[in-house]
Symmetry: C2
Subunit: 552 residues, 2 copies
Amino acid sequence: MADGTAAPAMRWWGWGDPAHARVLPAHALGYLSERLGALGPARPPVALAHVRLEPSRLSASMRGRLADIVGERHVRSDHGERVAHAAGRGYVDLITLRAGEPLGAPDAVVLPRSHEQLRALLELCSQSSLALVPFGGGTSVVGGVAPLRGSHEAVLALDTRRLCEILELDREAMTVSVQGGLRAPALERHLAPHGLTLGHFPQSYEYVSLGGCAATRSAGQASTGYGTIAGMLLGLRLAAPTADIDLPPLPATAAGPGLRQLLVGSEGSLGVIEQLSLRVRAAPAERVYEGFFFREFSTGAQALRAMAQEHALPDVARLSDEQETQSSLALARSGQLKDRLGETYLALRGYRDGCLAIFGFEGSPQQVRARRRHTLELARSYDGLALGRAPGEAWRRSRFEGPYLRDELLTHGVMVETLETAAQWSRVGTLHREVGDAIEQALRACGTPGLAMCHISHVYESGASLYFTFLARRRQTDELGQWRAVKQAASGAIIAGKGTITHHHAIGRDHAPWLERELGSGGVAALRALKRELDPAGIMNPGKLLAHGSPH
Amino acid sequence: MADGTAAPAMRWWGWGDPAHARVLPAHALGYLSERLGALGPARPPVALAHVRLEPSRLSASMRGRLADIVGERHVRSDHGERVAHAAGRGYVDLITLRAGEPLGAPDAVVLPRSHEQLRALLELCSQSSLALVPFGGGTSVVGGVAPLRGSHEAVLALDTRRLCEILELDREAMTVSVQGGLRAPALERHLAPHGLTLGHFPQSYEYVSLGGCAATRSAGQASTGYGTIAGMLLGLRLAAPTADIDLPPLPATAAGPGLRQLLVGSEGSLGVIEQLSLRVRAAPAERVYEGFFFREFSTGAQALRAMAQEHALPDVARLSDEQETQSSLALARSGQLKDRLGETYLALRGYRDGCLAIFGFEGSPQQVRARRRHTLELARSYDGLALGRAPGEAWRRSRFEGPYLRDELLTHGVMVETLETAAQWSRVGTLHREVGDAIEQALRACGTPGLAMCHISHVYESGASLYFTFLARRRQTDELGQWRAVKQAASGAIIAGKGTITHHHAIGRDHAPWLERELGSGGVAALRALKRELDPAGIMNPGKLLAHGSPH
């Protein structure tokens, strides 16, 4: 990067590395047209120059005051930077960006380098009615970085990429302290030569900042083994407009209410997670990823429950439902997996409409061997059919590819969106059915019948996550209305079924209307009180988390 | 109980079951006089009738209004009830109670039976300037139930013993929902026929309420295996003066800041934990507890660290330092353990001044076998000497006896107090030394040189707890000054050494002066804002947690 920091480039109109190869195989569009109806003409993104932004509202004098704090080069309001910070990477973000009509843009982007600069920014913005949107990797899929002004004069994206130092690696305690803007891959690169890993691999891994992970209560694909960010976080510093809250790393404490966990998930609404201390682990000497087939989703879920409750979980445990299994096989880039699993073999064994599971084990060879034995015994006791390592390795190779695939589907006129929840085991079956039905019903009502599919990806003793993906034709008009209808139906079903409105995507803008239904008015009042204390001017990330109103 | 609830009786002047046998062996006093100096005459507690209380300040009309809510029988202000709710079970509580001069007493005790009664009490007390001290098992050792009025007209103990229903047992999710006043043994009795256990066994187990455990962020003796109460808690309802916060059980959620963990540790300062949902587990078919000897505390600690970081921890893992090992052997009720470990055998093998560890494994026979193998391999690799099951079983049999022993030591003129912390592994060694030195130095400065000893009882990947016990002669005058001097010295050393002011005893009154040094002014301001929102009249447990000032 020009400024010497390690943030990787991302396509302004979509996901990821501009040089990344296409991932949509030729046969996939045929399958989709067959299932969803004719998809219409391709809809590529407009050119960057054609993206329409309102003029920046930042006055020259205010710009000068910001430059006094962070330096001239680190107050940016050129077209490219404003577009790059105009949205996250959710469906609504992408369709509006691609159309050249993002729902807003920051009036400028500021990039502080130090605690002092950050504090000075917080103070200036509080005094001058400038909203601040903390922006790490910019990967939010729930509108978490939408550049909303609220009632303020202007809105700035506070890009944390220059707050990217590794502060301390404590080999004895196995902890690392970092600045919040550090990207997850940069940390892994630093840890690898020490034989260590953080083990936090959300699908957005290539871009996420660690402060952003903490702020959004992120979970990674291997969180069943390595823990979610909430479990890894031992200390942090939140820089809020009225105060710093500095909580040193501790293995445990009973010193009053759990402030650390309160600040995890604060989504930039209380302040900026400027530093955090995280637990690290020995990098695994061995990784075994393998596939299993279960006859039904419910049987596979029972197997996962048994593994959790008998403390025999793999580090990665995923179970696709029948629909997702079928679609994944149909869409897979290489025909290989499909061929190996497909048709004859599974059909003969009576698993034809079954469910694919992926189990991943990491650790020393001895650990992997001992753990695998116990886990696979349980899988077999639920009638699971071992498929060997090919499906596991195929999943591992492609595990960050979902968002690239999404871009191509959007180009080809396919609506593709995800949403997720978690619930007690006793509700998982019903919730799976009811949320899937709600999505498909809403899609039909929009005149675009589609597919809802689901997997479990995070497993706990008392319950599991459910991650839904749905596909339909993109409408030519009122695409936001199409999205909103499905989102509302699904969210209503989640809340009615006693699931959480989000297991790991956070609240942001999109889930804000349901927060009070989950936390109750008392819970929301408590959070608002905290917000008033730490951000009395209300400049921090307005319109998210504690905002009233409806999505978009 | 007369009111049909399950709370067991407790000696008014000390710990536990009035029928419990003496636990101080004859030879122990000899050992103590030798180490601490002549102990002076026995100091038994005064008679109950001689305990001096101020007259109740509750007016007849207010008493009537309380009776309108909970019923006449459940507003109590007789001498016995007021004394029973005058104090917790810390050192300061006990020496003042035994002398017949408790530091205060509630003006009445109220015992609500339902949510409606609880809400009505919260509202009446908020309007009428009556402080409320939530009182579960009354086992706080940090002044957490001290009946302080703050600036209010009167103070009531809000005894939760009638809020003791088991609301739901979800066998599939392995969770149980209970009212906060339910005692831990009552829950275990309910779970046992289902083959389940909560697995939460603090030393105070015989009396603790589950709401109290959650309010004080409790850890049990088997928390290394079963998790602390914070890890078990999946949902809760806090009844606060201005609102209920009702958070249903969820395995995980990213719906904003971690409110559940915020309310764990709220110590009655924000409201009453009226309900909670907890994870339960299969009751273990097998339990193996055994002893090990390490040559030095530091080597034993390294072994524990390796177990934690290699995920090979037992369910119970304890390591006494040299001083505690020596004193435990000297004070042991039965000479058996001492004889078996003592002198010849250990000395010959070069472990004479070593450290005793207890490892406990629980689970299915296969699980216990597999886990033990790995753990004991690690113990041996740190030069640990296996002592077999006798020391493990001896510890298990006597694990709730500490507080009974304390009462007898007090009678015999011995000051005995405990305090605890936790820190990163990289600080454990220094902290152990510095806190121990601070305690012994403070005792010498008081003219009562004593013994400070320590054990690790809770082990984490990134660090461990340190639990100190100290013994000295009780001064004849200004015993509070003697205690305060040691407490201040130890707390100062803990904070300076970057330990937490408490790993599992909570803040209460005694640690309140150090809270801001741990959380910073920003952290305390955030908690105060929350308190203002939920308890604007400041009636909830005044003088604890967020109070300014010094202990006693």
